[in-house]
């Protein structure tokens, strides 16, 4: 709403500068976008909130200014000269849909001269950002900007039978509106029709029709000034996708009492600028007339909600200036500042949204000034709690960051086609019914899809080395219910170690991914790596990941936490990822639970008092023999002094015959009772070698 400063002065004798007025308005509840000094004087750009339709006119803003500066509001009381002929003989109005149209007033002016508006009117409209058309049309716009109430003018002679019928639209009824569009309606819309009601000549409260439009040949004018039901108007505007100055005002709730006044004001201006003869009286059909509501406000409630008192005089002055006509009604009426003070107020017709005591308290507070309520910090009465998984998530995140991963945040909207690449079979995606585009039409069913996109972005921007993680959610549908699951997604590509002064470069590999994930697993009692994994992963370098605690429990058949591995080349190809990419996704709630359990179960193990001894075994093993076969074989000997079995070197080729590989295994012996003797170590070593030879066909290599 462009508030023309000089227009404001028509209604209140404010002397403060436009900037000052704007700033005071802002601090009392009218948001101000700015103040401009235009060619026609200063203009305050007010962003009126949707609950204040009364401020969509200069008169309403002037009322606010009056309340702030304690200046009287100059009331509007137009008294246009009327002829002897009666309006009620010239036009008939019938409201068939009183639930949509609460009031309809009509006035008729004969023998007007439609012509361009005078300069002052053009200037005033231009300052408000409205184009000038002709005097009569301009006047209806001007009065709307002045008083905040929309009007419509018809060419009286084109209204059949000079009769208006306000009714619901017929299903699929059509009409061409003033903007030249042919529009179709449904029965929730309120139509203005003429004659027997069969022809629509306007959409009530939104826009008129072309057939009865004012033109330069119009002689006689019918002024409509009505009141329409706000919810119906909002619904209609949305249905039609047609938002007009009129629909905004009626949709937020215009003042039904203003209808007749605004019509009279328009008549006065038409007589002044277009001449003619105003018929006497007004046709006013007002089925929606309501008695004003009474609302009470008490000092006790002001104190309870606001925490600080407001003086009686302030309360009464603010409420009076805003039109609430406060009356003290308590027993202690004489006592200023009484804690028992209560006022009965009358809801003004332009403030339908003020219905409750709290609404009046807001009115009092905003005019009094919010800065008058001293800030204080309330005492906490109970302990505060973090999220249940806060500690686990924090440790997880910090561990990942320590491992070199950067946290990312993504938008879950992705293209269905992309999502489908990674979506497990049988999973229903959460599709949007109104996506912004086909590129973002579904919520990701896995975090992988957005992780891949983040890697893609980096590769496309010359960033070849990236290790990323996201703690987020994936979204799926179970029938018509939604399921959001917390997941950790990991993505890595390029070098695990970049070349520097001291180290050579090394590419990120499956082993990096496995090691990094196992570092997380360590917090959760360990991960178990199993054959499986998604089909979008490389068949030779993928795994499903499970919790050790699950593997060893009854619930061993539970589905895995997730998958990890190298992205399959064919998928990488499709995404134009031109280097090896490693991805993993784990469900977090079970990980968090396992982390908590592992933490609770952890106990100190006394440090050994005796030295440990390491022995290396250089083995020649057949391809297909796994490291886990070696460890199981060694462990099956039941030697309790064996504290660790590690693989320390692995190679093929050179001196190693085809079909075999060489594995260096380091076994650590540790006794809790005594220092181990050479003889004991020798004995254990012989047992280990013979078991490996016997069960795995391993050969001991001479080192």
């Amino acid at each position: 709403m462009k508030v023309v400063y000089n227009g404001l002065k028509d209604f209140v004798d404010v002397t403060a500068s436009p900037q000052e007025v704007a700033s005071r308005l802002a601090l009392s509840g009218t948001n101000i976008a700015g103040v401009e000094i235009g060619p026609h004087g200063p203009v305050i750009d007010a962003e009126v909130s949707s609950n204040r339709p009364d401020c969509l006119g200069h008169y309403g803003i002037a009322r606010e200014v009056g309340a702030i500066y304690k200046l009287p509001l100059k009331h509007v009381s137009p008294k246009p000269a009327e002829s002897a002929a009666k309006t009620s003989d010239a036009v008939k109005v019938e409201i068939q849909a009183p639930e949509l149209c609460g009031r309809f007033t009509a006035r008729v002016i004969r023998n007007v001269k439609i012509q361009p508006s005078p300069k002052w009117l053009k200037d005033r409209l231009e300052a408000s950002g409205v184009a000038s058309i002709s005097n009569v049309v301009d006047i209806s716009n001007y009065v709307m900007l002045e008083l905040g109430h929309p009007l419509h003018t018809f060419d009286y002679d084109k209204v059949r039978d000079h009769k208006i019928v306000v009714r619901r639209a017929k299903q699929n009824e059509k009409m061409r509106t003033l903007d030249g569009m042919e529009r179709q309606f449904d029965s929730n819309l309120c139509m203005i029709s003429d004659g027997d009601g069969s022809r629509a000549i306007g959409i009530g409260g939104i826009m008129g029709g072309v057939e009865t439009e004012i033109s330069f040949s119009t002689k006689n004018v019918l002024i409509e000034c009505a009141w329409f039901e706000p919810v119906a108007i909002r619904r209609a505007a949305r249905f039609l996708k047609l938002h007009t100055e009129a629909s905004t005002r009626f949709g937020r709730g215009a003042d039904p009492e203003m209808a007749e006044l605004a019509s009279r004001r328009a008549a006065e201006l038409i007589l002044q600028l277009a001449g003619g003869e105003l018929l006497s009286g007004v046709v006013d059909v007002y089925p929606g007339k309501r008695a004003p509501k009474k609302i009470r406000v008490t000092r006790a409630e002001i104190l309870r909600v606001m925490g600080t008192d407001v003086p009686d005089k302030q309360i009464e002055a603010s409420l009076s200036a805003l039109g609430f006509a406060p009356v003290r009604i308590d027993q202690n009426r004489g006592a200023e500042g009484s804690l028992l003070a209560a006022w009965e107020c009358t809801q003004p017709s332009w403030r339908a949204e003020v219905e409750r005591e709290i609404d009046l308290i807001e009115e009092i507070a905003r005019i009094y000034g919010l800065d008058k309520f001293p800030p204080r910090l309330p005492a906490a009465r109970q302990g505060a709690a973090r999220l249940p998984h806060y500690e686990a998530e924090t440790r997880l995140r910090e561990r990942l960051i320590g491992l070199g991963y950067r946290e990312i945040l993504t938008i879950p909207h992705v293209a269905e086609e992309r999502d489908a690449l990674f979506r497990p079979s049988g999973v229903s995606p959460a599709r949007l019914s109104n996506p912004l585009s086909e590129e973002v039409n579904v919520l990701r069913a896995t975090g992988i899809v957005t992780m891949a996109a983040a890697l893609e972005w980096n590769l496309n921007h010359g960033q070849r080395n990236a290790r990323l993680f996201e703690i987020g959610r994936h979204y799926r549908l179970n029938g018509s219910e939604s399921a959001e699951t917390r997941v950790l997604t990991i993505g890595a590509t390029g070098e695990a170690r970049e070349k520097g002064l001291y180290d050579a470069a090394r590419d990120f590999s499956f082993a990096d991914l496995k090691g990094d994930l196992d570092s997380i697993g360590e917090l959760a009692g360990g991960f178990h790596w199993d054959d499986g994994g998604a089909d979008w992963l490389h068949a030779a370098r993928r795994s499903s990941v499970k919790l050790n605690s699950v593997i060893s429990s009854e619930a061993r058949n539970l589905s895995s936490l997730g998958v990890a591995g190298q992205l399959a080349r064919r998928v990488a190809e499709k995404l134009k990822l031109r280097q090896d990419v490693f991805l993993a996704e784990l469900e977090l709630d079970p990980v968090y639970a396992a982390m908590r359990a592992a933490k609770e179960a952890r106990r100190y193990e006394p440090l050994p008092r005796f030295p440990s001894v390491e022995r290396d075994f250089s083995l020649l093993l057949a391809d297909g023999t796994k490291f886990s076969d070696v460890t199981k074989t060694i462990q099956s000997l039941g030697i309790k002094e064996i504290s660790a079995v590690e693989a320390t070197d692995l190679f093929r080729g050179k001196n190693v015959p085809a079909g075999k590989y060489s594995l260096l295994v380091r076994v650590t012996f540790q006794s809790r009772e005594a220092t181990l003797t050479e003889a004991q170590i020798g004995d254990y070593s012989r047992k280990i070698i013979s078991a490996l030879e016997k069960h795995l066909g391993a050969q001991l290599r001479a080192s």
Partner: protein, 368 residues
């Protein structure tokens, strides 16, 4: 003292040592001798102690360790290992001591970088979340989370936003495509406020929570708009919470976040679920609330306004209590919704909201 060197020529048996205590004594003598060595020529030291053929270490290994019966050997091994480490350390520090003494030799180039072990980073939005959560946690706010896919009831109706309410026009909403038999439509929450309702449904007053999370509005993306962004909701309800407690809490937060010198300002505003409602401004922390930048021009952060609009808030509208069976006559409270992305952009001078979601490592690296 040189007597000990001669002893290394003999075996334990020849020395007549047969107990662990005697082994200990011999090694103590050796260690003492090593400690007493004066700084001299490094090569002389090396030949005496560490030469492969005739060094002390070699002699001990051959004469004491290898010649010993297994029962004695286990006493010797670890002690020899310890001695070997001591000798190696002395050899190494010879070089350093010479540098200290003579001011010459190979010195590290301090301008060369050290070995950088690559570590990761928190996303900037996460850092801001953590900072704000910490501030509110310190004054008794618990942290809760809620679903991003919501029902219209929680996102709108229970927050006093009935269908066709004009405020819905400002919150263009994504809806899910559901099977025809779905009981309720589902939408992507347009604010974190639904958790006000969910929290109060579960819990009787006193309530003091914050809700960090993602929210969605169907806006076309540009430098200042993203259809997904982040909020922290706050809610405090009790029998004695007033507007003064509300402004005090917000002021505390802002001074913690932007520094103690910022001034705060509350302007009346409108939200259907708060009454009175306010917009909350801070004096521009970048120009000190003058509107003028250090160089003399208009401050680019507040555009000369001296104030920056931060977020909307207010006292919980009594109508909301009706939806959660709270007695509006007995309880009162406040709620606020802080936009995290905007705050981060403001604080760190980011001019395009999209960088948060592109996750370019060059961006991520800037906020370790």
């Amino acid at each position: 003292m040189s007597g000990i060197l001669e002893k290394t020529e003999l075996t334990f048996q020849q020395l007549g040592a047969s107990s662990e205590a005697e082994v200990d004594r011999l090694f103590a003598e050796i260690e003492e001798f090593l400690e007493s060595e004066q700084i001299g020529d490094r090569e002389t030291f090396r030949v005496l102690w560490a030469s492969d053929k005739k060094g002390v270490l070699t002699k001990i290994r051959n004469n004491w360790l290898r010649a010993a019966p297994p029962s004695t050997r286990r006493w010797i091994g670890p002690r020899l290992e310890k001695l070997t480490h001591s000798v190696a350390f002395k050899l190494k520090t010879y070089v350093e001591r010479q540098v200290e003494g003579e001011g010459s030799g190979e010195r590290v180039d301090l301008s060369l970088p050290g070995v950088i072990r690559s570590v990761g980073s928190h996303h900037l939005i996460r850092q801001v979340f953590q900072e704000i959560e910490g501030i509110f946690f310190s004054i008794g706010f618990s942290v809760v989370e809620g679903p991003e896919i919501e029902t219209p009831y929680y996102n709108f109706e229970a927050l006093n936003i009935p269908e066709f309410h004009p405020v819905r026009d400002d919150m263009d909403t994504f809806y899910l495509d559901l099977p025809k038999d779905a009981k309720t439509p589902l939408l992507l929450r347009t604010h974190t406020s639904p958790m006000q309702i969910r929290t109060m449904e579960k819990q009787k007053p006193p309530v003091r929570v914050i809700v960090p999370g993602k929210v969605y509005r169907r806006d076309n993306p540009d430098a200042t708009h993203s259809f997904a962004f982040h909020q922290i909701e706050g809610l405090a309800v009790d029998t004695d919470i007033t507007f003064c407690d509300f402004t005090g809490t917000i002021e505390y937060f802002v001074k913690q976040f932007f520094g103690p010198s910022v001034k705060t300002r509350f302007r009346p505003s409108y939200f259907p679920f708060t009454e009175p409602s306010v917009e909350f401004d801070v004096s521009c922390p970048f120009c000190g609330g003058t509107g003028t930048s250090a160089g003399g021009g208009t401050c680019s952060k507040c555009k000369g306004a001296a104030w920056i609009e931060l977020f909307g808030a207010g006292m919980v509208d009594p109508a909301v209590y009706g939806f959660v069976n709270y007695d509006a006559k007995k309880v009162s409270g406040f709620a606020f919704g802080i936009g995290i992305d905007r705050l981060a952009m403001l604080k760190y001078g980011i001019d395009d909201i999209q960088v948060f979601f592109q996750n370019d490592v060059r961006f991520l690296r800037q906020f370790p």
